[in-house]
């Protein structure tokens, strides 16, 4: 508890939400997760659409009995793992420190 008269809860949150630090946090978060979501969704949609409409292409053999469809499917696994790893790295470097800072400052309000 601080000795100052605390602002109302709501006013406190609105003030934080409009602070430069929070705007930066939101910008960093949204500039990563929204484009990334669109990207993996389109990549996945491409895979589903090809499975539905490009049977000849998907059935083309690459090595032995391994065809494009199988490779494409396995690439979806790879991209999922890579995106998850990229996000965890981005979050740890760009999001967590600033979120902690805001949280600590709020704790003292």
């Amino acid at each position: 508890m601080t000795t100052d008269v605390p602002p109302t809860e709501t006013a406190k949150y609105v003030a934080v939400q409009q602070s430069a630090e929070f705007l930066e946090l939101r910008k960093r978060l949204r500039s990563f997760v929204f484009p990334m979501t669109i990207a993996f969704f389109l990549w996945y949609a491409l895979y589903v659409l090809l499975s539905a409409y490009a049977r000849g292409f998907m059935g083309a053999k690459i090595v032995g009995n391994i065809n494009v469809a199988l490779l494409f499917g396995l690439l979806q696994f790879v991209s999922t793992f890579v995106i998850a790893w990229l996000y965890s790295r981005y979050a740890a470097q760009k999001l967590d420190p600033i979120a902690d800072k805001i949280k600590d400052e709020m704790g003292g309000m």
Partner: protein, 559 residues
């Protein structure tokens, strides 16, 4: 000839296998019940009951998420679909895995930061509590019951194989159909015990044990299958394609979904059904109540993130195993033997275990042993998942409906937990009853329906809540009820329920919706309804959104 010999061997070893399966399963039940009773002694507060005291580590919760997610649908259903239809079964694995990115990037951490026990905590955060919590509770129960039916059907399908009950033979005086019903009731009763006694803490440990068993079992079978083909994936695929009798088409998309048909309109519907399934799979995960409540069992959002990363690793690896299991079953068991046991293919994985055991673990006894182990693992899988589902839905009844709607926030913790336990009983009973009517459907397919309902009814409301400032009570109600009702109505009038040979009611026909998965229509309806509901209402609480946004992004004031 060879398969005939194997069949004879199976006959001889039936009783060995039966005894062993039952013994192993009883051991699993005894261990998990002991854990459950231990956990119940640690369960004192509502946080303990609903969220396991928020004491689990990222790795533990990652395992538990895997345990909740790798259901009978994944293990039995997908392996069966791959075994019967080849490549098309793999589509499920991919959709189920990619879906985790939605949970990781858009939902898990924000939910953990701003909620307490249920999905509705976030949905109702800045809304009028009672209507929104009622809606969220209804949708939680509906999604969970769809999912529960899928698991119980899996248990029913397994039992006649496991206990070796063939047509015209009996076990303890029960024929195959009676045994199925008895199994469903037994599984239902056990799950109620886990949930009522152990709460979230007990259920989480059950998930962890089950995940370890399932991963180990699948790994052993995968290694045996690959070793059989000298670790040459191409020759496994080649043999699977040849044994299936469908040739190269078996390795390509199109045998089951998006099938080319004589009439152009039928081909169009068939392709739409494939797209619909694809969308439902990828958007459903982040709307599943029993998955969402998992994020509350860890201390912070950062650990929730870590647990999702673990889950993605574990689940992804498991789906790679199912690829080997499915194609392995096609090659080593064969489609004829699989469909003879279960028309929908749900028993392909245990049948493969038996075939592998016969070849590599010392003949018929080895076959019986491996079958028993894998069967016990499959039962454990089903039991754990149904427990998770029952917990999530009973929590929602108690925390959202009873405490907030009926008691208007004035219920004591004790009272709330007591109601949750009663609700677990009731939901368990409903699921048992409904499951008895859905036995002819493929388990993976039933789960895909649950995903469609979750993606239509829950996901739009969750995303709007977290990211759209203007979203309000009216929008939330429209989104949940709009998505939910459209998904259920479309399923009800689809070929899944009536008007086809594999429908729940094959002898009647009231279907007019041509697709078997409603996602491609009902998910956009959910999003659209949320938007319409929001703009037609004057309610606009941007201050409260400030609180939600600050808390969800920073973790300030998190429970």
């Amino acid at each position: 000839m060879e398969s005939h010999l194997r069949y004879l061997a199976a006959e001889v070893s039936t009783s060995t296998s039966r005894t062993l399966t039952i013994t192993l399963f009883l051991i699993f039940v005894a261990i998990t019940l002991a854990i459950t009773i231990w956990a119940s002694r640690q369960t004192k507060t509502a946080t303990d009951y609903y969220a396991g005291g928020r004491s689990f580590s990222g790795f533990q919760n990652g395992m538990a998420i895997g345990g909740d997610y790798m259901s009978a649908a994944s293990f039995l259903g997908i392996a069966g679909l791959i075994a019967l239809y080849g490549y098309d079964g793999f589509l499920y694995s991919i959709g189920f895995l990619v879906a985790w990115l939605v949970a990781l990037l858009l939902v898990a951490e924000f939910l953990r930061n701003s909620g307490r026990y249920t999905m509705a905590d976030v949905l109702a955060f800045r809304m009028r509590q009672r209507p929104v919590r009622t809606a969220a509770s209804v949708s939680t129960i509906v999604v969970s019951i769809f999912y529960l039916i899928a698991q119980m059907v899996g248990a029913g399908a397994l039992v006649s194989l496991l206990l070796g009950i063939k047509a015209n033979t009996t076990f303890l005086g029960m024929d195959a159909d009676t045994a199925k019903v008895a199994t469903i009731i037994l599984v239902g009763a056990l799950m109620i015990v886990y949930v009522v006694v152990g709460g979230m803490k007990g259920t989480t440990y059950v998930q962890i044990v089950k995940a370890i068993l399932l991963m180990s079992g699948a790994l052993v079978m995968t290694i045996l299958v690959l070793a059989h083909y000298k670790f040459n994936l191409s020759s496994l695929l080649g043999d699977a394609a040849q044994q299936s009798g469908k040739g190269a088409a078996f390795l390509e998309p199109g045998l089951r979904y998006g099938v080319e048909k004589p009439a152009a309109i039928d081909t169009f519907y068939s392709k739409m059904d494939l797209l619909s399934l694809g969308i439902a799979l990828v958007l459903g995960t982040a709307g599943l109540p029993h998955i969402l409540t998992r994020f509350y069992t860890v201390p912070t959002a950062r650990i929730a993130r870590k647990s999702v990363l673990w889950a993605i690793g574990i689940i992804g690896t498991f789906y790679l195993f199912t690829l080997a299991l499915g194609f392995g079953a096609a090659a080593l068991v064969g489609g004829t033997a699989i469909t003879a046991q279960d028309k929908a293919g749900n028993t392909a994985a245990p049948q493969l275990a038996q075939a592998l055991g016969v070849r590599y673990l010392g003949g018929e006894t080895g076959g019986a042993v491996l079958l028993a182990i894998i069967a016990a693992v499959a039962f454990a899988t089903i039991l754990a998942v149904v427990a998770g589902l029952t917990l999530a839905s009973s929590s929602s009844v108690a925390h959202d409906f009873y405490a907030s709607v009926v008691k208007r926030g004035a219920a004591s913790e004790r009272d709330e937990v007591r109601v949750a336990r009663i609700a677990a009983f009731v939901i368990g009973a409903i699921a048992i009853t409904l499951s008895i009517f859905a036995q002819s459907l493929n388990v993976a397919f039933l789960v895909a329906l649950a995903f469609a309902v979750a993606a239509s009814g829950n996901l739009p409301a969750i995303l709007y809540s977290l990211f759209w400032k203007k979203f309000n009570t009216s929008g939330a109600l429209w989104a949940i009820y709009g998505g939910l009702v459209s998904a259920i109505v479309l399923v009800f009038f689809s070929p899944v329920v009536s008007g086809s040979a594999t429908a729940m009611f094959p002898d009647s026909d009231w279907h007019w919706f041509p697709l078997s998965n409603p996602g491609i229509i009902s998910i956009p309806i959910g999003f659209l309804c949320g938007w319409i509901g929001t703009v037609i209402s004057k309610e606009d609480d941007t201050d409260k959104y400030a609180e939600l946004e600050v808390r969800s992004l920073t973790g300030f004031g998190a429970h």
